[in-house]
Symmetry: C2
Subunit: 300 residues, 2 copies
């Protein structure tokens, strides 16, 4: 899963550049025969080539389109299977010309976009972009009192009991999201214990049409005073776990996880927990966490 | 999680349109005082406003920038907290002008991009785009012979035993990805039984810097003849589960899941499985699957 480090390679073609002038793009064509630059492509080990447009150059759209057409023709003749085009947001006037040659968006974020063109045989085999958003809820359960922390949303699912939670932020571990969201919504501090369940859903408008994973974690309370977030919560309370199991106004996932917790409270949480194991960086290039059932000491 | 259905609302401003002319954008400025159009914004229930640019209109960049500036000024004065700008790819000449007003990319896919501008107080509270890519591997285990299907990758992790698997496609259930990837890589047909483990990793270059979830599912074999995919697999075989547990050239996740399977084979897979439960569409707006430990019949 390492990124290609192909030597820098030059497409033998010339691309017109112009100075930034108040008159804007129209000046580009007039100056199209001005000082010349080059369009660089970096090959990758998968048979593709990447082009990174510089943020500062002011490229003329028409000249760029003809230059890109010639470059694509050459790359195709060399057997390249794909072209990756990286465009700084202020160079976005070059996107439409690329699109007219068949490029389409792979993804975009913040101040740049990436377009791709598949040159290989058959349908594109290029890897897609992120497909899932991940929401994490925290089931904060106090074994000594058998009370569990539940909330009712202000915006959606009114009057339905559920566990506090929210969307995982970029780079955030599942357990950390649960602890953070529980604190933000209820003011209760807690510690991650295990992963209990995962729900998958597709095409949610709230996920911009992407898929959604909703994870419920078991958390150990470290504080008990509730200060409910007025923007997010309608109600928030410590409820007896048995009452939550019997409650009719609880979401389906909440009810099922409540039954699982009741079983774990009686038989031992080792029967229902997926605790986290740290995996060494060596394993998959960078450190990671693995969630799976812990086994008894007895050699497996 | 429903999308807002605000009534259509008109920003009181005028935006210049021009005919598509061979001379391109430069003609736009000359025709800027030509036939007038309007920029429409649709309010959403979260206090934001969405603008959908038409795919066919040929909008002049400079006129669009001044019109958008005026519209943003008005929306800000009305207390709107955010602006969502949806841009067809062939209208991408309008992205840089929006960026110069502070807009940045939220996401882009295929033939359109979406930009946002936060107008509320403090840092943006707008929901992010998909944060995770999801890979799924299939641990195809034959209880009668205690053999498990393992492969060695051709590209990466050479000579390390692992379970066949790959990236989940948009809208594909976890179990379906495992069954599909196992068949594509090994030719073995199988059926989903349960979810066994989840690994989370962040910032993987292979995930374009996003996070990666790697799920291992337990599958029941339906056929046993192996036809190894030469593009993906170096080796592929049915290995005794005990040998895989003891193998030194297996990935860390593979070794841990192998031990889990050995325990399940001895004590019963109900002890390690997270089988799938269908959740009714009523639940969260659309049908979904919930993976969690199944409980014994005895009332929980």
């Amino acid at each position: 899963t390492r990124r290609p480090v192909g030597r820098c390679w030059r497409a033998a073609l010339v691309l017109a550049r112009t100075r930034v002038v108040a008159l804007g793009p129209s000046a580009g064509r007039r100056a199209a025969s001005g000082n010349a630059g080059e369009l660089r492509g970096e090959p990758d080990r998968f048979g593709g080539v990447s082009v990174h447009l510089a943020a500062l150059d002011r490229l003329d759209a028409a000249a760029f389109e003809s230059a890109l057409r010639a470059a694509v023709h050459q790359w195709r003749s060399e057997g390249r299977v794909a072209v990756w085009l990286h465009v700084p947001i202020l160079q976005s006037q070059l996107i439409a010309p690329a699109a007219s040659l068949g490029f389409c968006f792979h993804h975009a974020e913040s101040d740049s976009s990436t377009l791709t063109l598949w040159l290989g045989e058959g349908p594109s085999r290029l890897p897609g972009y992120a497909t899932h958003q991940v929401g994490v809820a925290g089931a904060v359960f106090d074994e000594s009192t058998r009370k569990i922390l539940v909330v009712q949303d202000r915006n959606k699912l009114k009057n339905m009991w559920k566990f506090p939670g929210g969307l995982s932020e970029p780079g955030e571990d599942l357990g950390d999201t649960a602890v953070r969201e529980v604190f933000e919504e209820t003011g209760v501090q807690s510690e991650f214990r295990s992963l209990l369940s995962i729900r998958q859903q597709h095409g949610s408008p709230a996920a911009f049409g992407k898929s959604d994973l909703y994870v419920v974690c078991r958390l150990q309370p470290r504080s008990f005073h509730i200060s409910c977030c007025p923007h997010e919560c309608l109600r928030c309370e410590w409820m007896d776990l048995g009452d939550l199991v019997r409650a009719e106004n609880a979401t389906p996932v909440t009810s099922r996880v409540a039954r699982l917790l009741l079983y774990g409270h009686r038989e031992g949480f080792d029967k229902v927990d997926l605790p986290a194991q740290e995996l060494p960086a060596g394993a998959a290039g960078r450190p990671s966490k693995l969630y799976l059932r812990a086994l008894p000491a007895r050699p497996g």
